[in-house]
């Protein structure tokens, strides 16, 4: 393969060596409407973040916040409208040949939300993982492939792996199927697994087991995971860093524990206050937020949360707030928080 010609994008100020994955001012827009009414839906706007080695980064947000669009851009299902994504320093647009694409999808596989729809019911579960191995690691012999498949099945807690491989999808529970999804991803020796709501369709008693698998993959296999979720509590449980999205914008990011214990953006505070917590007392105030996130069609500048924000000031209606560091590694895109005022919205 020819040496990929790469132009290193502008490095964020003060950043160290190139991270595993770097998203640089990426936007993804969709054209909607017909010939008479043309509109642009801004699913993701001007988003920058990075994922390091051996790191679980959670992207949290409500439905429609653009978090799944981010995953799809990273999986090369969509091309970014503007901006660029760098994987190991190379821009995604450089992975152009069939071989380069295949190599990329092996390094950055995706695990899907619905474990019932993502497996072919007429094949044994070995089918998917063996095919993936054949495609992505052609140097292995048949025996080596089977041994490797059994190893990754054991690694995700499907023991004994060699036996589970022979089963059909209907013989597995939802939690087991989702583990198969992770095993398939792991078989390709990935650097980064894109997990789009991997536990939201599972029963609560099973979810924790899968979150533990994700942590184990990070600790023992050295894989990074981009965990996309609407569940802040599970993000806190498993993620090292947290990214909160609202209406296509990245509104707050930082170490998960720091963001959740000391949220600076009013939206993060709203999300956090809405998480049902059986161990805490009810905190629904007299003023319950009943707003809903907007669909961002032909947006004008300004903070997209301003209509729901009790703290909105004049500038919020005119200038889109940029991400700024408010504490070490903890940034928020909020004019009020950046002015130094204490933010206590919800």
């Amino acid at each position: 393969m020819a040496e990929l010609q790469t132009q290193p994008g502008p490095q964020p100020v003060g950043s160290g060596p190139e991270p595993l994955l770097r998203v640089d001012r990426m936007s993804r827009h969709f054209k909607i409407g017909n010939a008479l009414s043309r509109h642009t839906l801004h699913a993701v706007d001007d988003m920058s973040f990075s994922v390091g080695e051996r790191e679980i980064v959670a992207i949290a947000g409500e439905s429609g916040s653009g978090k799944s669009t981010v995953a799809r851009v990273l999986a090369k299902i969509y091309k970014p409208t503007t901006g660029e994504v760098y994987f190991q320093g190379k821009p995604l647009s450089a992975f152009r040949s069939r071989q380069a694409k295949l190599r990329y999808s092996g390094l950055v596989p995706m695990v899907f939300q619905d474990p019932f729809a993502s497996m072919n019911p007429v094949f044994r579960v070995s089918h998917g993982v063996m095919r993936a191995l054949k495609l992505h690691r052609p140097e292995l012999t048949n025996e080596q492939r089977f041994a490797e498949a059994a190893r990754v099945f054991d690694a995700v807690g499907l023991n004994p792996g060699a036996e589970v491989l022979q089963r059909y999808p209907h013989e597995l529970s939802g939690g087991q199927r989702q583990r198969v999804g992770f095993a398939q991803a792991l078989a390709m020796r990935p650097k980064l697994i894109l997990a789009d709501e991997p536990v939201s369709m599972l029963d609560v008693s099973i979810r924790i087991g899968l979150l533990n698998v994700m942590a184990k993959l990070r600790d023992e296999e050295g894989v990074s995971i981009l965990y996309i979720t609407h569940d802040l509590a599970s993000a806190r449980y498993v993620a090292d860093r947290l990214i909160v999205m609202y209406a296509g914008h990245l509104v707050e990011t930082g170490p998960a524990e720091e963001v959740l214990s000391n949220p600076r953006h009013p939206y993060t505070q709203l999300l956090l206050s809405a998480v049902p917590d059986p161990k805490a007392e009810l905190n629904v105030g007299a003023e319950t937020d009943r707003g809903e996130p907007p669909r961002v069609i032909n947006p004008t500048p300004g903070c997209r949360f301003r209509w729901r924000c009790p703290l909105a000031i004049a500038i919020c209606h005119e200038v889109t707030p940029q991400l700024a560091e408010l504490a070490p590694a903890h940034s928020a895109a909020c004019h009020v928080a950046q002015s130094g005022a204490e933010v206590k919205a919800f």
Partner: protein, 341 residues
């Protein structure tokens, strides 16, 4: 008899009645399949008091939705009620014909289904669907129908202009609210809700829960709320019923159940939620999976997954024991007074 039930003036707050609205006794529902009989719900008994909020919690496949359909007589073959009774103010709904049921349904007892997108007709406006429901149950004056439709939409916090809107023009939260508005058209005594918030985001979910509670306090209807998410109902329900593999494993006052869970399954469920506050601790969830109900375990149905399993759990099915006002189906509480079985 059924007519007497339906004679209530709609829109009025009903006087407090001492006897339960709903009495369920030994209700069993079976799926009769070629491969055999699957007991989806087994000997479930409970009462619902007027104005009470009862939450039913369980994993998928535990029979909670089948139980709801059994209560509302909406079961379709191959599911059928094999035994037991569902008494609504003393009338056994299981014995009624479809015609007799039609009188009770919607006026005295209404249902809010899980997915509002599928429950609402996509080609009819919200107002037209309200009108249909009211005509089917005997409200025919146009002015009255309009007035009531505007009222119920206002109750759930939706601008009445949306009577002219179609379901796709509303957000998920608004669709779910308009389903609740529809369920309230006749101010029923009992509203049954099957995971009404499961398709919503956390913020919309919380506001919908708060709204249901507000409406309930204002109009004093009873609610049976089915969910898989225990933490959601913690602050809203009066009593909590935990179901496992078609049986009630624990039933008691919500607060008590959260503070002192008795059944090992309930304890496991409590520990399956990562908390958003407090220290980060390693959780384990509950290992294993629910049993196949076509071949349930001989003894306690939770025994294969239970951390406190005893030899007799694998052979004898445990009866319900009464512990501090909570009924628990577990041999760990055998020393106490036996309720049934």
């Amino acid at each position: 008899m059924a007519h007497a039930l339906a004679d209530d003036q709609y829109g009025l707050v009903r006087p407090h009645r001492p006897e339960p609205v709903l009495e369920i006794r030994d209700l069993s529902v079976e799926y009769v399949l070629e491969s055999g009989i699957v007991g989806a719900v087994e000997n479930v008994s409970f009462d619902v008091a007027p104005g009470e909020f009862l939450a039913i919690v369980g994993e998928s496949g535990c029979g909670k939705s089948t139980l709801l359909f059994g209560i509302t007589q909406l079961l379709n073959p191959p599911a059928e009620i094999s035994s037991g009774s569902v008494a609504f103010h003393g009338t056994d709904l299981v014995q009624l014909t479809e015609r007799q049921l039609a009188v009770v349904r919607w006026k005295d007892m209404s249902v809010v289904m899980q997915s509002a997108m599928n429950a609402l007709n996509p080609v009819q406006s919200i107002g037209a669907q309200f009108r249909d429901a009211m005509r089917a149950h005997g409200k025919t004056s146009k002015a009255e129908i309009h007035e009531r439709s505007v009222d119920v939409l206002k109750m759930v916090g939706i601008d009445p202009v949306h009577l002219k809107s179609y379901p796709h023009q509303l957000s998920g939260g608004m669709r779910q609210r308009s389903m609740i508005a529809m369920a309230m058209l006749f101010t029923p005594e009992l509203i049954i809700m099957d995971e009404p918030t499961s398709a919503l985001d956390v913020v919309a979910q919380r506001s919908l829960m708060a709204q249901i509670k507000d409406l309930q306090q204002e109009f004093h209807f009873a609610v049976i709320f089915v969910t898989h998410d225990m933490s959601l109902v913690r602050h809203f329900s009066d009593r909590l019923m935990v179901m496992y593999a078609g049986q009630v494993s624990e039933l008691g006052p919500t607060r008590q159940l959260f503070n002192h869970p008795h059944h090992p399954y309930t304890v496991g469920l409590m520990d399956a939620f990562p908390s958003i506050r407090g220290p980060r601790v390693q959780l384990t969830g509950i290992p294993g999976r629910p049993p196949d109900l076509a071949r349930p375990p001989a003894g306690c149905r939770f025994s294969p997954r239970c951390p406190k399993v005893m030899p007799r759990c694998e052979t004898d099915p445990p009866p319900e024991y009464q512990v501090d006002g909570t009924s628990v189906r577990c041999f760990l509480y055998d020393a106490r007074e036996v309720l049934s079985g």
